[in-house]
Amino acid sequence: MASHGILDRVAIVGMGCTPFREHWDRSLDDLLIEAHGLALNSAGMVKDDVDAYWYGTSQSSASGISLATPLRLDNRPVTRVENYCATGSEALRQACYAVASGAYDVAVAIGGEKVKDGGYQGLNAFPIPTDGTNRTLTAAAMFSLMLPAYAERYGVDEDRLRYVVAKIAEKNHFNGARNDLAQFRREMSAEAICEMAAVAGRLSVFDCAGVADGAAAAVVVPAGRATDYTDAPLYVKALSLVAGDGSGLVDPAFDFTTLPECVAAADDAYAQAGITDPRTELAMAEVHDCFTPTELVLMEDLGFSERGEGWSDVLDGRFALDGDLPVNTDGGLKSFGHPVGASGLRMHYEAWLQLRGEAPADRRVTTLDTRSRALVHNLGGYPGEMVSFVGIWGTERD
């Protein structure tokens, strides 16, 4: 795929993120107002400084009006963005392109989701009229298909692999326990997770992302003006998005041990950023751990592990807070919670904190002395048919 990227042409100069919670006492508007205020404050701006908005929500509201009204924006353009669970990153990507084009000087990407007003467990897709032949499987079940497939392909005992993915949940709970904004701030052992009842394939509830309400926002400006607002901007190194053609669900060659859309997006992003060895060039990564097998497979798809070795790298602690390449240092979707439209921006928020050295001391990465770039991976959909975002950000302007 051909892309030029906008390397070092746009920078994030402010970010904000609400706590991700079951916010029974707060509305979507409340969460958007808070995230917006935190981001502008972080950039030292006021509302009138913002020229344009990209507002991501999966299904909590519709149209730009649902942002312009609670924020009482003064004749500003607001684009509502939806791209499944990659909605938040997609809003940011669009805002960056708008600034890179020169159309606007200051753009805000904001995402929010109010999932707990629905009255059902888990995330539930907005019903679209169909011929009734579409799958009705839960996302948990779709991603659970990857475990037996991976075990079969690489000859890993299924019980051992089940423990491996529980170790991923354990790591993300460990990190989330050190994050005041996270939904779940309690450590969980892999052994305890393995003991839990299966809800989808071998997966237990604790292999699934938390379901939370929340909002997050970023302010982006042309890179050349970034230091007008902050001493430590995050420069765009790469922005990539792939919308899969769904062939994995049609083509018997697809074996459910990889997410090809993520591989393609990562390849494109590494090319844009000039990264050849992500394992040694990235200081940390936030990846879309909607379910524990997803993070396992992503380690290979993003080039952090060799094919078939992700599981042993997990057991070796390579992706732990003190590992070679810390992944999901804020607890990830697993522990931070997953308000769909906000999650992509929440991932960037952690990259923002870590690269700027602002993460709390007890979960601060130790890779920054030699590395200055972070990867954010955000997907939406299911194995075989998904959208995948990969962004790379850095504190240095090349």
């Binding site: 009705t136 499987l137 049609v250 083509d251």
Partner: protein, 468 residues
């Protein structure tokens, strides 16, 4: 009418699930009895069972299609709207072939069979029933669920498996068994009344039928004698002086509208050539039909006999059975119930939804399920051939068990199926034990009711473990 008419093909569907009648008394403290009854799964209705039986009947033939499709049941999935049209669509019959429902009463099913045997052309007569009784009542344990399909026609249409020799009918009006529309179960008068009302009508029809066909009782090798009045049927059987076929009470139960043709199929499964078979049906009078089997029967039987289906089974717990029939409401997963399917979208894609027809790319040979206008490889546009997949078998590539998703009978077993000869589809499994499913298992397709929303039944295909 000089040419001989009769049965060109037949098939039966006995659902995979059984209820052990002993469970009824152990749960309820009453009712039950010995043996098993056949139980339609939660995703089966009389229409889907009719599809299964019709596929089995037509599957024994090479490219023979009916001129008409007649469907009879007393437990229709729809009123006002024809149910036979769903079967018609699942069989991918041409729109010029009429599909009609014969509803309302048990008698309609055998009446449709008689009408087809005396009408011109090839008629596929499908009968289907789901028998529900109040818990502990006679039909709770004694009823059974099944469907049958019989293709009638003349010797000009192909080799007859059994010739129709003729018969007779008697009609009587008496309120022995009745059900008002909307009620799930029927009620009955006291037993002895029906017996004395039926027996003269049986004797009359039997005598008339023998006279009409120049047969004597001694010519009859075996008789199927059945009706929902068990006592009258038994008495009639002992009075006719002929050998009587197994009524399958111990292994299936009385499948109501489908039972006469089910027992006829069971007899044909084992009959020698040249055997005279009587079908005697007690239903608001009596229908008697005589058949003589032919040399073609041995080669024309369906691939799966009634007996084979009786043996291939798995028990369902009584409480789950009650939940399936709506007699016991259980807590579903806390997820939204599905929305009704769009009638407009369903009509646009009826080949896919009802016929399970995908598309095969003429250039790459890749089969696309669902059909696709643009291939996943090769870049061709609108260059696909229809790929009928309903009869395809496949292998499970990977699978999962979903305890979270809404279902009328959780959990949902879901598999990625790779079909022999090409094509992949992630699809729900049915009639499968979640603990026994494995990668590499072989599956075949079955037409099922996915769910019902706003009174619209959402029909589509599932896979189930291959059973030969």
């Amino acid at each position: 009418m000089s040419m001989t008419r009769g049965i060109l093909a037949y098939g039966a569907h006995v659902p995979y699930r059984r209820l052990d009648r002993a469970e009824i008394s152990s749960v309820m403290g009453a009712g039950g009895g010995r043996g098993h009854r056949a139980v339609a799964s939660f995703d089966e209705d009389t229409t889907t069972m009719g599809v299964a039986a019709a596929r089995r009947a037509l599957g024994a033939l090479d490219n023979t299609t009916p001129d008409a499709l007649w469907f009879s049941t007393v437990a229709p999935a729809y009123l006002d709207k024809t149910n036979a049209t769903v079967i018609h669509a699942a069989l991918r019959l041409d729109s010029t072939i009429p599909a009609l429902d014969f509803g309302g009463a048990q008698r309609s099913a055998v009446g449709a069979l008689r009408a087809a045997l005396t009408a011109p052309g090839r008629t596929l007569v499908v009968a289907s029933d789901i028998r529900i009784g109040l818990p502990t009542g006679p039909e709770d344990g004694g009823g059974g669920d099944a469907a049958t399909a019989i293709l009638t026609g003349s010797s000009d249409d192909g080799p007859l498996l059994a010739e129709y020799l003729g018969g007779a009918t008697s009609t009587g009006e008496f309120t022995d068994r009745w059900r008002t529309p909307g009620s799930a179960y029927s009620r009955t008068w006291e037993d002895r009344f029906g017996e004395q009302a039926y027996l003269p009508l049986v004797r009359q029809a039997w005598a008339d039928a023998l006279a009409a066909t120049d047969l004597t009782a001694d010519d009859v090798d075996v008789a199927v004698i059945t009706g929902l009045h068990g006592r009258a049927s038994k008495k009639a059987a002992s009075g006719l002086g002929v050998a009587v076929a197994d009524d399958r009470a111990a292994t299936i139960g009385n499948a109501g509208a489908a039972h006469p043709s089910l027992l006829l199929a069971d007899v044909l499964d084992g009959a020698e050539a040249g055997a005279v078979v009587a079908l005697v049906v007690l239903a608001d009078g009596c229908e008697v039909l005589f058949f003589r089997t032919t040399d073609a029967l041995a080669a024309g039987r369906p691939t799966r006999s009634v007996a084979a289906q009786v043996d291939d089974r798995a028990d369902v717990a009584y409480t789950r059975y009650l939940a399936w029939r709506g007699l016991l409401e259980i807590q579903p997963p806390n997820r939204p119930e599905p929305n009704r399917p769009s009638s407009a979208a369903a009509l646009r894609r009826t080949d896919w939804k009802h016929g399970f027809v995908g598309a095969t790319d003429r250039t790459t040979g890749i089969t696309h399920l669902p059909p696709s206008r643009i291939g996943i490889a090769g870049g061709s546009v609108d260059d696909m051939d229809p790929a009928p997949m309903a009869d395809a078998t496949g292998t499970i590539a990977t699978f999962t068990v979903d305890h979270l998703v809404y279902s009328q009978s959780p959990p949902v077993v879901f598999a990625v199926v790779d079909f022999d000869g090409g094509g992949r589809m992630p699809i729900e499994l049915t009639d499968a034990d979640p603990a026994e499913v494995a990668i590499g298992d072989r599956v075949e397709m079955t037409f099922r009711r996915m769910f019902t929303a706003d009174g619209i039944h959402n029909y589509f295909w599932k896979a189930h473990p291959a059973r030969g």
